[in-house]
């Protein structure tokens, strides 16, 4: 226990110190984690051999990241991306393998080793690139989307690579590394598919994938709804974690990439009403585990090898980045990426990736690469990952300003999230939503009642399950990009809290809130709502008007009276807010109580005294002139009429 606590303390301490400093310096969190790892590993030496163990655990971060990526990606979008996915991704991997293998061959390495190195180094770092793109808000740009397509292709390509690499095994290495092999089998712990023949293996794999897709599609909803009905938030979080870890485990059992499996599950769940809740539940775990992963990469850098031949290593790293960048840039041109997007694509993907470590370890076990070369290459991979933030800085500081000078950047692809977030879709928020959707406005609807969400979805209304008062869920619903937040949740106090929080956190978003009564309306206004409307006011007024019509009052007169009532009420509401603000406690605020009585009285008086006040207000404009008005005009012209510069005959019959 003590040992674990010490480890946890060291890692967390390094992260908490290094990451904020790195962010402050504009380096991004990924570089912060890597530096933290280097400091506690090679520099201070406080962590050591266990980093490899921790790394296996931390790879869950990558798995969760792919799950979240999948959640963001509806199958339709994936299909729309197919050209970029296969074209850009396929060519990038293919060309990079060819170029690196050729370079290795020229340098005098045997062809099988050169090809293996090419395969391993052709991959880029999904973790670093996606994390950086989302931190910088570049995911939805055309460059970001192309990068994403290529990364996705690479992650899928890992599977055939794992199948292909053993074929490159070198006989000399096979004989040499027998004890190493026993080590490897020990590492390859559980597997359902060891020793299965080709077609049974294929069946088992297909079965596992089908389980993820069908289970995700048919079982997840009833399960989540059942859990949501319990009202226990932590159990929902536990279920989300269980889902991700369970799929990762299943994939490992059939020798598939866990990241790919959870990605698939994410895609399947992308249309689910629980998407935002799952997102905000998994997000913090992903962030921490991914951070841990980067720390272990930093801690695992073998500076001894670097010190032995720093020139060669740096040369290899820079050469690798240059070669990949060149190929990426050529592809960007070939696929006609937008200006700016092409550079983001080129510089963003030019490093080697974390799957490189996995493949290197696998290659050594499969006797494809000699241990020394693998160590060197893993250092090259780590160094190229370390240099990635520098490449992003290069993009931001040098390429972007130059582009902005020559031409305005094309607008980003329109965000798929709605411009109005509606919190609470009971009887009130539902009508608001219907009006907006019917008017062509994109909305994101959040509600805490899974049953309610279920009904709405059956009616074809896009809705998400979740507690709208949760900051992370609001964020996941796209509040950063939203123009308006409609607060229509039934819990009065939480509605006020939500308004206050949203006002602080999203100062630009207009907040429209439903109030239960005047006091609630004042509380909402005080909390920062731009508009607050009493839920019953208009309906009650309508019914009152209906009563007057039923009594035989002329409909237009009723209209005028309700207009007057509305005006009188609105004026009183504003005046009394000032008094209320001095002391919201109604029972002790005598000035307010007096004003309330006076206001009610003035309305009654106006109604009672032949309703003259009200009539005067509204009928004024339609009031005819006095009966003797024309005869007075015919008698003598007004005094000022004569003095005005133009003369007009104003006789009128």
């Amino acid at each position: 226990m003590g040992g674990v606590l010490v480890q946890a303390f060291i890692y967390l301490c390094a992260a908490v110190v290094a990451v904020p400093i790195a962010k402050r310096l504009g380096l991004g969190s990924v570089l912060g984690y890597l530096i933290a790892g280097i400091v506690i590993g090679p520099v201070l030496g406080v962590v050591g051999a266990e980093t490899a163990e921790i790394q296996h655990f931390a790879e869950l971060g990558v798995v969760m990241m792919l799950f979240l990526v999948g959640l963001e990606l509806e199958p339709r979008l994936l299909w729309d991306m197919r050209a970029r996915l296969l074209g850009l991704g396929g060519l990038q991997v293919g060309l990079t393998v060819l170029v690196i293998a050729a370079a290795g061959f020229v340098l005098g390495v045997s062809w099988s080793i050169a090809l293996a190195a090419g395969l391993i180094l052709s991959l880029s770092s999904t973790a670093i690139v996606l994390q950086t793109l989302s931190e910088k808000g570049l995911v939805k740009t055309s460059g970001g989307q192309s990068s994403f397509a290529v990364l996705l292709f690479q992650d899928i390509a890992v599977i055939p690579m794992l199948a292909l690499l053993p074929l490159l095994a070198i006989p000399e290495l096979t004989g040499l590394a027998d004890h190493g092999a026993s080590n490897a089998t020990e590492h390859h712990h559980l597997s359902l598919v060891d020793g299965l023949s080709g077609w049974t293996y294929a069946l088992v794999v297909l079965g596992a994938v089908a389980m993820v897709v069908l289970g995700g599609h048919f079982l997840s909803r009833p399960l989540f709804r059942f859990i949501a009905a319990s009202g226990l938030r932590e159990i929902f979080t536990a279920a989300a974690l269980l889902l991700v870890i369970g799929i990762a485990l299943l994939m490992t059992l059939v020798d598939l990439s866990p990241a790919l499996g959870t990605f698939l599950a994410g895609v399947v769940l992308a249309n689910s009403e629980f998407r935002h809740e799952l997102e905000s539940d998994i997000e913090p775990f992903k962030g921490l585990l991914l951070g841990l992963f980067f720390i272990t990469v930093g801690a695992g850098i073998d500076f001894a090898i670097l010190m032995q031949s720093p020139g060669t290593l740096l040369g290899l790293t820079v050469g690798l980045i240059a070669a990949k960048a060149l190929i990426l840039f050529a592809l960007a041109r070939l696929f006609r990426l937008e200006r700016g997007g092409d550079w983001l694509f080129t510089l963003g993907l030019a490093q080697a990736g974390e799957f490189g470590f996995v493949l290197l370890a696998f290659s050594v076990q499969a006797h494809v690469l000699p241990v020394d070369l693998a160590k060197t290459l893993s250092l090259v991979v780590a160094l190229s990952m370390l240099l990635t933030p520098a490449l992003f800085i290069l993009y931001e500081r040098w390429i972007l300003p130059g582009l902005e000078r020559t031409a305005k950047l094309p607008p980003d692809t329109i965000d798929e999230q709605g411009t109005v977030v509606i919190a609470g879709v009971g009887r009130f928020g539902q009508i608001v939503n219907r009006l907006l959707v019917a008017s062509g406005v994109r909305t994101v609807v959040l509600d805490h009642a899974a049953a309610q969400i279920d009904i709405l979805r059956k009616l074809g209304i896009k809705s998400w399950f979740g507690d709208a008062t949760r900051p992370d869920l609001l964020h996941a619903a796209g509040m950063d990009a939203a123009a308006v937040l409609v607060v229509a949740i039934d819990d009065r106090e939480r509605a006020v809290d939500l308004v206050a929080y949203a006002r602080r956190r999203y100062p630009k978003v207009k907040i429209l809130a439903r109030a239960f009564d005047v006091n609630h309306l004042y509380l909402l206004k005080k909390a920062g709502a731009d508009v607050a409307i009493r839920e019953l006011f208009d309906a009650s007024l309508n019914l009152g008007a209906e009563a007057l019509r039923t009594l035989g009052v002329h409909p237009f007169k009723v209209e005028k009276m309700t207009r007057a009532f509305r005006l009188h009420d609105a004026q009183g509401l504003d005046e009394m807010y000032e008094l209320w603000d001095l002391d919201p406690d109604l029972s002790r605020n005598r000035a307010l109580l007096a004003r309330v009585r006076e206001h009610g009285g003035s309305l009654q008086e106006a109604m009672a005294a032949e309703r003259m006040d009200l009539h005067d207000r509204t009928e004024r404009g339609w009031t005819p002139p006095p009966k003797d008005y024309t005869s007075a005009l015919q008698g003598e012209a007004p005094a000022d009429e004569a003095s005005s510069q133009t003369r007009h005959d104003i006789r009128h019959d």
Partner: protein, 211 residues
């Protein structure tokens, strides 16, 4: 209210803009935008300000007092204005404010209507299918202005408005519109000469004393 502040020019112009479907407007809405960009001109979007037709009489009257010229900017609907402009007249031009022995608030202010008409100009004459000239058709407005003691100018009209964009006539019309407002604002318009015209458009060159 900032938009109620009078602009600092020889003649402060108030444009009352009335179009119920602005997203489909090809002539009047661009004219409103052009006018809104002119210093010294206040444009009020009546349908925007009073979507429920509940016109605030006090506010409108205060607005009228701080301007020296009033322009109705509207498409011609049934040989008259869109309904909100009629409602505006019914409510705002009160006895005791706009007419009657003490109703002198509008005396001496310039008034005209800037409109778009669907039919071709040839249709607006005794021989055409509309039988009357546009100035004749707008006689109720002319007499209203007269009763209010205002200085009436003939309408500034764009005929065949449905094809103005396709025929390339809009740009020239907008330029003439801006020129007219500028001349009126800076008191360079020969009002007496303008008053005798059938429409304000064609004779801008002879009427604008300096431009």
């Amino acid at each position: 209210m900032p938009d109620d502040q009078p602009p600092p020019y020889p003649r402060r112009i108030l444009v009352l803009f009335a179009h119920p479907t602005q997203e489909r407007s090809e002539v009047i809405a661009p004219m409103a935008r052009a006018a809104a960009n002119l210093p010294g001109v206040t444009v009020v979007d009546l349908y925007g300000r009073y979507p429920g037709f509940a016109i605030d009489v006090d506010r409108e009257q205060a607005h009228l007092r701080t301007h020296d010229a009033v322009v109705f900017l509207h498409p011609l609907y049934w040989y008259s204005t869109p309904s909100i402009l009629k409602e505006w007249q019914d409510l705002v031009l009160e006895h005791g404010f706009a007419y009657g022995s003490s109703g002198t608030a509008l005396h001496g202010k310039v008034f005209f209507s800037a409109l778009s008409a669907g039919g071709p100009e040839a249709a607006y004459c005794a021989a055409g299918y509309n039988h009357f000239t546009i100035r004749e058709l707008l006689q109720p407005l002319e007499q209203t202005a007269s009763l209010c003691g205002m200085f009436y100018l003939p309408p500034f009209a764009l005929f065949g408005a449905r094809t103005a964009v396709e025929d390339g006539r809009l740009e020239g019309h907008l330029q003439a519109w801006v020129r007219l407002l500028t001349a009126l604002r800076d008191d360079r318009l020969d009002l007496e000469a303008a008053q005798r015209l059938p429409v304000l458009n064609g004779a801008l060159d002879t009427v604008d004393r300096e431009g």
